[in-house]
Symmetry: C2
Subunit: 338 residues, 2 copies
């Protein structure tokens, strides 16, 4: 099986390498096809997201991606945003759940943030009206709104809780979130067996901060999803820099293509030191395996991660250990058999 | 001294009444001039925010406001938004700090959210391009951006920490938040004695969730401020419905006018039962007193609230007590002397 591997930059090569080791140890033979993106690509091709990389994902359909830095001040648009739009990866899926051994005030969190991944304020439509006056456009379309809400309900259908929360600000953006809300209600009608809630985004922030265990599947517009997924990751995360971002996997899914990526950045300060936490990318690889029909192996990897956190041996510094990328990966591989 | 009182609806009359009692007990003679807004105004005048109410605030300059519900489905624009724009109350100020006796995972939180209050996605500029395609405009102007950042620095100047964090999403909204960021940097240059940080809004959510005590003054665009202020309130709040919103005061300030309001809603489910927590409005009244030159009385009220929470006597249900609006207000008044 050929799958594209985007190592990215900073800690990217180290953590994606760890994920590849775990996948191999789980018994899935993957022929990783490397594709460049991020700072190395910008240096080599003058373009942080070369067209060949998009072409390779189009060819092989599925990719695992490490953190990629978009060089700033050079007029480049964000790699992540361009990849999502260029491949029409319309759904961002970020599961956030309580993990054993991680110090956090919240328990029994088990939610998924489903984020519309192509529109909203990420549409990239902006202009200067006159000097000193700028408008950014927040684009909402019926087709994208219905599609993402349906996606969320399909996800919720296979989970125990059967709850979908639609997050919006329709009292202020009466046309755009009015349309989104209308679409959400229409789709919700198709799922009478799943509970549907609609909540203002500010309330959702408040309630998440108070008790994130009350949520199951949350679905929302692009920028709201950006904010809510980081907030949720912060709530379940360790105390180290980056917190939960070192633990939370991510998937960008479209009709034809899929890119699995950790949500964290490339942490240039610790790059090359072999001490980065690879769990977010390893768990993203587990989601990838599930996607390509190796669900059992994916589930084994996820269980091995949990066991490793439980045992607390070999952990990296961000989650309270003194180990390295290698020691934690070794432990996860050892626990694959357990 | 004449000050406008907007009782609002739901629990509004009860909690604003409590605040008026406390102000009187603190020895400040206020002649409250009632002005209608919310559901009663909509019923009586066919308009939830009658022009007379705005006129009265223009005349007396300062108002204390309870929660006001904008009736939905009737095409009304939000009362809060219209009031802020109509009176050019360009700065929303929401102090969030750890309170004694309130069960929360976080300690030593003492931050202020400064929110641009007139533009961004709240400008109300939206249109349907074709059926099923809607655009909302996020408006950023240099003048409003510079004004709010300067306001934040002026606030920070009088606090111990001397730290201003500007929150943005300039990597995605390169023009609009690019402009805002440029303005923030320009203003920051005028305050070399205050530390200035700029952070993506998603990072801020993550870091707030991990440890809100690292922040001092946060300044940002309108919708970001809406979300961040509720998040912060959630982090320091009690476990009851509404959490920290029952505790957090708010001020909407402009060059000429000022409206002090709690951030919470009108809680129609408990309206009229005399059990609502009045602390948010009482603390808003304390801010109001400071604004109109009665800082000592304002500080006494704030101290009395802290003492009351510390003593834990007479508290309302949302913060773990079995008392009523009256009992907690009595305690606060008693503690004014302490
Ligand atoms: C890097 C940035 C453009 C990106 C986003 O805002 O989507 C990131 O924050 C994320 O959440 O994947
Ligand atoms: C009621 C609503 C329009 C308002 C806002 O979004 O500003 C509220 O959430 C607030 O924060 O004061």
């Amino acid at each position: 099986m050929q799958i594209v591997l985007i190592e990215g930059d900073g800690i990217g090569p180290e953590v994606t390498q760890a994920a590849c080791r775990v996948v191999a140890a789980a018994g899935v033979k993957v022929d990783w096809v490397k594709a460049p993106a991020g700072i190395p690509a910008a240096e080599q091709f003058g373009e942080p997201l070369p067209e060949e990389t998009l072409e390779m994902i189009r060819r092989y359909r599925v990719a695992l991606k490490g953190p990629c830095t978009t060089p700033i001040g050079k007029g480049y648009r964000s790699i992540n945003v361009r990849m999502r739009q260029g491949l029409e990866l319309f759904a961002s899926v970020r599961p956030v759940n309580t993990l054993p051994g991680i110090k956090t005030p919240y328990e029994k969190v088990d939610l998924i943030v489903v984020r519309e991944n192509t529109e909203g304020l990420y549409a990239g439509l902006e202009h200067e009206v006159v000097p000193g006056v700028v408008e950014s456009v927040r684009l909402i379309t019926r087709s994208a709104a219905e599609r993402i809400v349906r996606f969320a309900f399909e996800l919720a259908r296979h989970r125990g809780r059967q709850l979908v929360t639609f997050c919006h600000k329709a009292d202020v953006m009466r046309l755009s979130d009015g349309l989104f809300l209308e679409c959400a209600r229409t789709v919700a009608d198709d799922y009478p067996f799943i509970q549907f809630e609609e909540k203002p985004i500010d309330n959702v922030c408040l309630e998440l901060a108070m008790d994130p265990s009350n949520f199951d599947v949350l679905v929302m517009e692009n920028l709201f999803g950006d904010v809510i997924s980081d907030l949720a990751a912060g709530l379940i995360g360790g105390a180290g820099p980056g917190g939960g971002l070192g633990l939370v996997p991510g998937a960008n899914l479209g009709t034809r293509f899929a890119v699995f990526e950790a949500v964290h950045g490339s942490a240039p300060d610790i790059a090359g030191k072999g001490i980065a936490n690879p769990i977010a990318v390893i768990r993203s690889a587990a989601l990838l395996l599930e996607h390509v029909g190796h669900g059992a192996a994916g589930a084994r990897i996820e269980r091995a991660v949990i066991k490793t956190l439980q045992a607390g041996v070999g952990l990296t510094g961000d989650i309270g250990g003194t180990g390295t990328t290698a020691t934690i990966t070794d432990q996860i591989i050892k626990n694959l058999g357990a």
